[in-house]
């Protein structure tokens, strides 16, 4: 037993010697001992987690390489896309854009009062805690789960999708925006408060003018995100282009799928670049 302990001690001290950086001596004789790098912990832990994940998911790199040609086979079948199909996807594509637009606007507007309630401007500690807690929980719901829930409430279709997007945007925007409120200059707020305004009036008059640009920018950022979200909502039946996409994929009509993906990419790119340009001007 004593031998075993001595062995472990010896091993530990040997390991420490390896990972301890060499002391550096300055020309005036001072000795500096560099700190042990945290990488000696981070790298083994990450390696362990990665290996464990590979065994859990049965991930196989050889499979990824061997079957990847199959991906290009499908892409090949999508080319050329079936442009004659364009008329049939125009309506669902517009529906997708409108779903995200309306959902984003509703979510962004609703977020304003709740962002105020979550911010340091809210004097009620309990109120702030409750609102923040509620939204932390609400934010854990992925947009697809929200869409399924909304379909249970409102039935399948674009309305459920829009509602899901609105709620999703609402929960995210509350957090993003209350953190912005807390970085605003409080001086004007104190000034307006001292003139006899109530806190909501002072917030609206003194804090919001500092933040409108960032608020619109956040809203546009959410719109970009939601267009991509809206495209997959159809998979669970919540309206938009996703419904057509999943149907065409299931029937393996690859030229149609090609056109849907092409139109989707162009739409997302156009909206993202327009939005980026507006945001650049806002800030």
């Amino acid at each position: 037993m004593a031998y075993l302990i001595a062995l472990i001690k010896g091993l530990v001290s040997k390991a420490l010697k390896i990972i301890t950086p060499e002391p550096l001596q300055l020309s005036n004789g001072k000795i500096v001992r560099p700190a042990i790098s945290i990488m000696w912990i981070v790298i083994p832990v990450l390696t362990f987690i990665t290996l464990w994940s590979i065994s859990m998911t049965r991930f196989r790199l050889d499979m990824l390489i061997r079957r990847s040609e199959q991906f290009f086979v499908i892409v090949n079948r999508m080319i050329p896309p079936n442009f004659a199909y364009f008329d049939s996807i125009l309506t669902p594509m517009i529906a997708t854009i409108l779903m995200s637009l309306v959902g984003t606007i509703i979510g962004a507007v609703l977020a304003l009062p709740f962002a105020y309630a979550s911010s340091e401007l809210n004097q009620s500690k309990i109120g702030k805690f409750v609102v923040r807690g509620f939204f932390s929980i609400a934010r854990t719901l992925p947009v697809l789960v929200l869409a399924v829930l909304m379909m249970i409430v409102f039935g399948a279709g674009a309305f459920a999708g829009t509602a899901a997007i609105a709620i999703f945007t609402f929960t995210i925007m509350v957090k993003m925006f209350f953190e912005l409120i807390d970085t605003a200059d409080m001086g004007p707020f104190e000034a307006i408060l001292s003139s006899g305004a109530n806190r909501v009036q002072a917030f609206w008059t003194a804090i919001m003018p500092q933040l409108w640009g960032q608020y619109y920018s956040l809203t546009l950022y959410n719109l970009e995100m939601n267009i991509r979200n809206a495209a997959i909502l159809g998979y669970v039946g919540a309206g938009g282009i996703g419904i057509v996409l999943s149907e065409r994929l299931a029937w393996r009509v690859y030229p149609d799928v090609g056109l849907i993906l092409l139109v989707l990419m162009v739409t997302v790119l156009v909206i993202e670049s327009v939005s980026r340009e507006i945001r650049r001007r806002l800030l």
């Binding site: 200059d185 104190e190 000034a191 001292s194 003139s195 006899g196 305004a197 109530n198 008059t205 003194a206």
Partner: protein, 255 residues
């Protein structure tokens, strides 16, 4: 009339900023409060409009016990008291006129203020306030485009738009250069004399305080150690207030 009787202010961390302050300020006076930073000047000023609540004692403004005010009655009371700050506290990303109009929201309903629905008479009040401090032509320029002195004038116009009977000024010229400081102090003096508005100003620079205020209150560690005419201040009293000889930093110089 502002009436302090044995006012004590103790902060939650135990610091006693005011230790039994008693003083009376008549309507229309121009009072400067001097003292080291941390002496309680800012607390004294903010007690008057209840931006800081007092711990004990009595504080009456025009006969109303200020510490008894809450919610709506407190907000209505504050409308009559303007406040000016060292850092101006303007809403920088918006126009001068909107900054001045911001002083009118206290008089408006919540819906009106959310829609920024300012009446014609509000706009005229705001423009006249800007005219009084001589920067009417800057009305539609963004506040952050103005110099420091101009920004402080906008802040002064903002409090004037409240049509107050008292203006509290917390180090109004401490961030300004000597020439601009003199201009802004002259604005205060003009408003004090023309409109009979009481001005209570915390002053970092002793020479400015003595030049513009008729009455000076010296405060040291929460206790009033001098209260009298500016002409009664001498080396001895200053040493009492500051606990040391004056330094270069306590004077604005060249005015």
């Amino acid at each position: 009339m502002i009436q302090f009787t044995d006012v004590v202010k103790r902060y939650p961390n135990g610091v006693e900023a005011l230790k039994g302050v008693s003083l009376t300020i008549e309507q229309g006076e121009f009072v400067a409060i001097i003292g080291l930073s941390g002496a309680g000047k800012s607390t004294l000023l903010r007690a008057i409009n209840q931006m800081h609540t007092i711990t004990s004692g009595s504080l009456k403004v025009n006969g109303v016990e200020v510490s008894s005010l809450k919610g709506k009655s407190l907000r209505r009371f504050r409308r009559g008291i303007g406040m000016v700050f060292q850092s101006f506290n303007l809403i920088k990303r918006t126009t001068v006129i909107k900054n001045v109009l911001a002083a009118r929201v206290a008089d408006m309903s919540l819906v009106q203020s959310l829609l920024s629905f300012y009446s014609k008479s509000d706009k005229i009040i705001a423009l006249e306030a800007l005219d009084q401090v001589g920067i009417l032509e800057k009305a539609y320029i963004r506040a952050d485009q103005l110099s420091g002195g101009q920004q402080q004038r906008v802040a002064l116009a903002r409090t004037l738009a409240q049509q107050p009977s008292i203006i509290l000024a917390d180090e109004p010229v401490a961030s300004l250069d000597p020439v601009t400081s003199a201009q802004v102090m002259n604005d205060f003096l003009k408003i004090n004399e023309a409109l009979n508005i009481t001005v209570v100003a915390n002053m970092h620079h002793v020479d400015l305080a003595l030049k513009y205020a008729r009455r000076v209150i010296g405060i040291k560690e929460g206790i009033i150690v001098y209260d009298g005419p500016a002409s009664g201040i001498n080396q001895q009293t200053l040493k009492e207030i500051y606990g040391r000889d004056l330094t270069e930093d306590d004077l604005m110089g060249e005015h």
